[in-house]
């Protein structure tokens, strides 16, 4: 499994590089107010902007899903790997774990920075910890949902035009967060969507010809 994950990371290293760069930019936006004339009270608004940008950036994980599957189909990677002692399910699991790692590369540094900033500059309200958990769980699940849509679109679409349908769905997921905000209800909706998507991807990937 590790070999398969390593192969996926190496083949799609650009998405990891992108995740690191965006994490850096977003963290930069969040901490800039601290250095602006020591206006510490603006830290919360900086964090708000950063989170909004993150919610939009997660949209790019759709591209990662499409990229992984489209490259596979185009270069017949799974067809080759399937002639080795590797099952299709393992190829898919390795792929999904790689996607999850890329999402975490974007989100984990932000979680750490947000916790530190809130500890240092925000009033000590106990509600903050629950709020942070809900926000980042929502962002993670939305990114993962976009990624799952990308996987499906990349595998079942034969042209860019047909992948646009998936793009529309990813837009709806991101707008759901931007409009409705974060909370338990969003987490439940996204979880249900992800489970359904994973079942569909597994069926598509394991039953079609390679």
């Amino acid at each position: 499994m590790l070999t398969l994950i390593k192969r996926e990371i190496r083949d799609h290293v650009i998405y990891f590089a992108g995740a690191v760069i965006f994490a850096g930019i977003i963290i930069g936006i969040a901490i800039t107010p601290i250095f602006e004339s020591r206006r510490h009270y603006r830290v919360l608004s900086g964090l708000g902007v950063a989170l909004t940008i993150t919610a939009i950036v997660i949209f790019s994980f759709f591209a990662m899903g499409v990229g992984q599957m489209y490259t596979d189909k185009n270069r017949k990677i799974s067809a080759f790997l399937s002639t080795l002692p590797v099952s299709r399910s393992r190829i898919l699991i390795a792929r999904i774990l790689t996607g999850t790692l890329a999402i975490l590369t974007l989100i984990v540094p932000q979680v750490i920075v947000t916790i530190i900033l809130l500890r240092l500059y925000a009033p000590p309200f106990p509600e903050y910890s629950g709020f942070i958990a809900e926000v980042f769980a929502g962002i993670f699940l939305a990114a993962f949902a976009c990624y799952c849509i990308g996987l499906q679109a990349g595998w079942s679409s034969s042209s860019i035009l047909s992948a646009m349908g998936g793009l529309g769905l990813a837009c709806i997921i991101v707008s759901l967060i931007l409009i409705k905000g974060f909370g338990l209800h969003i987490i439940v909706i996204l979880l249900l969507f992800i489970i359904a998507s994973l079942i569909r991807i597994r069926h598509l990937f394991t039953s079609t010809s390679l």
Binding site: L4, R75, F80, P85, S87, S209
Partner: protein, 310 residues
């Protein structure tokens, strides 16, 4: 003659195909195919381009779902081949679909890391024999080099079963000869079960012990090479007057009439058929020698219902 492997019984079938049917977009490409390949046998699957050879192999490897029927490799259903069984199967695919953007060294490492059994000595020996560069990308290799790399990768796992799907496709005559010489060398050393698909008859004739001929999705021949040559006969018969309209004989693959002369190709030739022919009192009857290529051409004529009985 099919040779049994070490400690294995002759009747142990490594490849089993039972009533295999495959439709593509409503078009039947494999029509009720059944055949078995016993342990240690080199089976040559012949057929014209698009006859369904690659589809059978893809179904056997679990890359393509069958519409109906069952296939198994090394005693396990093709659709549920566990990693342990896959690790015993070496495969050289048509067109050598290796990962094109990888460097040779990277692809070797990937295959080595994923394999359950890797013979470094054997692999390095083949790489040296083929003189394959490890620092070039797969897409930059010639077709011949790709075929050689594919064979080296397939052989490195010491496979119990080797599946070669048109391995010489796209190679020039020299590269093809070189590839086959080495392949034969390797095959003879090991005594393993091999399924060899090709439309190049001379290739198959050199290494196969048993032959299957696919025509329009049907397996019209499935027997040993020697048996095939004795069972299919081409006769040139001259009659005293014009030839009869019907010889009342089954399994006539092809019949051509020119004046008093009739040329027929018959499958399952036996004494009974000879006796039937003699009742027409021909002036002369001579057997025309047939090569595998001649038999193949006769068998792949668009008249499959006549030769189904072969």
């Amino acid at each position: 003659m099919c040779l049994p492997g070490k400690g294995k019984r002759m009747d142990e079938n490594v490849i089993k195909v039972e009533n295999l049917v495959k439709y593509f977009d409503g078009r039947c490409v494999l029509d009720d195919i059944s055949f078995n390949v016993p342990q240690g046998c080199i089976y040559g699957l012949l057929g014209r381009n698009g006859a369904g050879k690659t589809t059978i192999i893809r179904i056997l490897l679990g890359l393509e779902p069958a519409t109906r029927g069952e296939t198994s490799l090394l005693g396990r259903n093709s659709t549920k081949l566990p990693a342990k069984i896959r690790g015993k199967i070496g495969c050289v695919a048509e067109g050598h679909n290796l990962i094109q953007n990888y460097k040779v060294s990277r692809l070797i490492k990937l295959c080595k890391d994923l394999s359950l059994n890797w013979n470094d000595a054997s692999f390095d020996h083949l790489m040296e024999t083929f003189r394959l560069p490890r620092d070039r990308r797969i897409r930059d290799l010639s077709m011949g080099m790709r075929a050689q790399l594919n064979l080296a990768l397939a052989m490195a796992i010491d496979p119990e079963l080797l599946i070669l799907d048109d391995p010489t496709l796209g190679l020039d005559t020299v590269a093809r000869r070189q590839f086959l010489e080495l392949a034969i060398d390797i095959i003879q050393q090991q005594g393993r079960t091999i399924l060899f698909c090709s439309h190049i008859l001379s290739d198959v004739e050199r290494i196969a012990e048993r032959i299957g001929i696919l025509t329009a999705g049907k397996l019209v021949v499935d027997c040993s090479l020697e048996e095939l040559k004795t069972r299919v006969k081409k006769l040139r018969i001259i009659f005293p007057e014009s030839p009869p309209a019907d010889l009342y004989m089954t399994d006539i693959i092809n019949r051509q009439i020119q004046g008093r002369e009739m040329a027929i190709t018959v499958a399952n030739w036996n004494r009974q058929k000879q006796a039937i022919l003699e009742t027409f009192k021909p002036s002369s009857c001579t057997e025309v020698p047939m090569s595998l290529e001649d038999i193949f051409i006769e068998c792949t004529r668009p008249n499959p219902e006549l030769i189904e009985a072969v």
